[in-house]
């Protein structure tokens, strides 16, 4: 019991836990769309692309989350701009932009004296540095993302599964796609605190991929994914406390362990059985 309770006597640990669980849930829910719509590369790119925004906010002593949000919006729009009309393929545009943004971010951060420490925090998260206002912002944005997913559940399902039906039903598909991108950007930004730029893609993809192995329905997939995301954050943070390792890595490795378990032992398609393609 004291094993569980001991870390909780520190306020920073409690805040970190709450933030991590929240981020785990949001990432996992948005992750179902990332996995089903094949947006993993985009999610990863967006995470890296917010680095310059964070760096500039840091240099100007502004709010890091706000800087990240602006950078995410700029990159999402730029991807649309470069790939418009098929001049450059979308994934090519993503590849070019995210490498450029990452480099720019690192270049900016390298001008800071204590850059090694700061860079580590931004790249891999610093969940134990979550302030009370950070926590409120995370919770607020998180509830906003969840609310939007709940409100647009049917519409997101149709545009993800069958764009032709979406068109015949006259859904505003373009608008919904952009909303999904915006929610993805928000998710990546709030995951910055716990797992950092480098690992937020993993929190998007891994729990959802695990849930995909375990169920064949969308809503249960979201619930299972959220449960795995939350559990990974919780277990990961305790591991990080006791083993004295970076929290982001501990959380992602825990999620990966869940994925491996599901991959090996799930009743329907575990590798012990013949896989049906």
């Amino acid at each position: 019991m004291s094993f569980i309770l001991e870390p909780l006597q520190y306020a920073f640990m409690v805040r970190g836990l709450l933030a991590a669980v929240m981020v785990g849930i949001i990432c996992a829910v948005m992750g179902t769309y990332v996995v089903l719509r094949g947006m993993a590369f985009l999610g990863d790119a967006m995470a890296h692309a917010i680095l310059p925004g964070v760096a500039i906010a840091y240099l100007l002593k502004g709010n890091l989350l706000v800087g990240a949000l602006i950078a995410a919006a700029v990159v999402a729009l730029s991807i649309g701009f470069f790939s418009r009309g098929g001049v450059v393929k979308e994934d090519t545009a993503i590849g070019v932009l995210f490498a450029a943004a990452l480099s720019l971010g690192v270049a900016l951060i390298s001008t800071i004296q204590t850059y090694a420490v700061d860079l580590t925090h931004i790249l891999f998260g610093n969940v134990l540095g979550v302030s009370a206002s950070d926590l409120w912002l995370t919770v607020g944005l998180g509830f906003f993302v969840l609310l939007m997913v709940a409100v647009h559940y049917k519409q997101f399902l149709v545009i993800s599964f069958d764009p032709v039906l979406a068109a015949t039903l006259r859904l505003p598909a373009e608008l919904l796609r952009n909303l999904l991108l915006l929610l993805l950007a928000l998710t990546v930004v709030i995951s910055l605190q716990t797992v950092g730029v480098g690992l937020s893609a993993a929190m998007l993809v891994t729990p959802a991929a695990t849930a995909y192995l375990l169920t064949r329905r969308l809503f249960p997939m979201m619930l299972i994914s959220a449960a795995i995301g939350a559990a990974s954050s919780l277990v990961g943070l305790y591991l990080s406390f006791y083993l004295n390792i970076v929290s982001g890595s501990a959380i992602v490795l825990t999620a990966t362990a869940f994925f491996l378990l599901a991959f090996l032992f799930n009743p329907r398609r575990g590798v012990l059985r013949m896989r049906k393609i």
């Binding site: 519409q155 399902l157 599964f161 069958d162 039903l169 006259r170 169920t215 064949r216 329905r217």
Partner: protein, 261 residues
């Protein structure tokens, strides 16, 4: 233009439309009127613009020129009255939804933004599944369906939309006999419900025997009217050109195989 139902009010009015994917139009200056509840076969060689016509009718492709009216109102005014079944469903068959979920999507056009499906919606979905003979599969995931079953899922979904106009692109190509029979039964069911049906097909015999009228297309409208009016040598020659053979006995042979992949 030949109109075999001059007195009925037209349900679908196509006025001089041209449709293009990029520079060169695939369809040029096509006009026709289809009355309430008619069953029309859309016939023409590969690349004649049959699929393009359907995509234009549901608003998937923009019109270069011309206008489309449904019940006298411009396209897009009635949000849910056209159901469209493409030739090949390009959906991810490993998507985590059940067959019932897919068919329920047909009701989404009628549901408000936050509204959940009502008992009535569920009953319509169940009836559509029964109509297509897949009610026993309702709770199954959509993986591992045969191509015929896949088509029946989409037919059931289109049925659940309760459309006024039903567009099917090549529903008889590459499906099993059960699905073909179910599709033909569906045509009679739709007739009893006074639903206008447009089907593209390569099967001229089927077009001649099971449809009220034929729309013969080759990038422009060649003929539209009853099968007897349309399936004449001069029309077919215009549509099919050299792939048509006229034998001495007066039989017309059209060498037009299934679309290449």
């Amino acid at each position: 233009m030949n109109n075999s139902f001059p007195h009925d009010p037209a349900r679908l009015d196509v006025e001089n439309i041209s449709v293009a994917y990029n520079e060169t139009p695939v369809l040029r200056e096509v006009s026709f009127q289809i009355p309430h509840g008619a069953r029309v076969a859309v016939v023409g060689p590969n690349g004649a613009g049959k699929s393009t016509l359907f995509k234009a009718l549901v608003g998937l492709l923009p019109l270069r020129e011309g206008r489309i009216f449904i019940h006298g109102k411009p396209l897009g005014h009635h949000l849910d009255c056209v159901a469209y079944i493409p030739q090949r469903e390009e959906v991810d068959w490993r998507f985590p939804v059940s067959i019932r979920d897919v068919v329920m999507m047909g009701r989404y056009g009628r549901l408000k933004w936050l509204e959940r499906p009502s008992r009535g919606d569920r009953a319509i979905v169940m009836k559509s599944l029964e109509q297509m003979g897949i009610a026993n599969l309702a709770n199954q995931s959509i993986n591992d369906l045969s191509s015929g079953q896949q088509q029946r899922v989409f037919l059931a979904r289109a049925l659940a939309q309760e459309p006024h106009i039903f567009l099917m692109d090549e529903p008889f190509t590459g499906v099993d006999a059960t699905t073909q029979a179910a599709t033909l039964d569906l045509l009679d069911h739709l007739r009893s419900k006074q639903v206008t049906v447009l089907i593209s097909t390569h099967d001229l015999n089927l077009a001649a025997s099971r449809f009220d009228s034929i729309l013969l297309l080759n990038r422009r409208l060649i003929a539209f009217g009853s099968p007897a009016e349309v399936l004449r040598q001069e029309h077919l020659a215009q549509a099919f050109g050299s792939s048509m053979l006229v034998t001495e006995a007066g039989t017309l042979l059209v060498d037009e195989c299934c679309p290449p992949d």
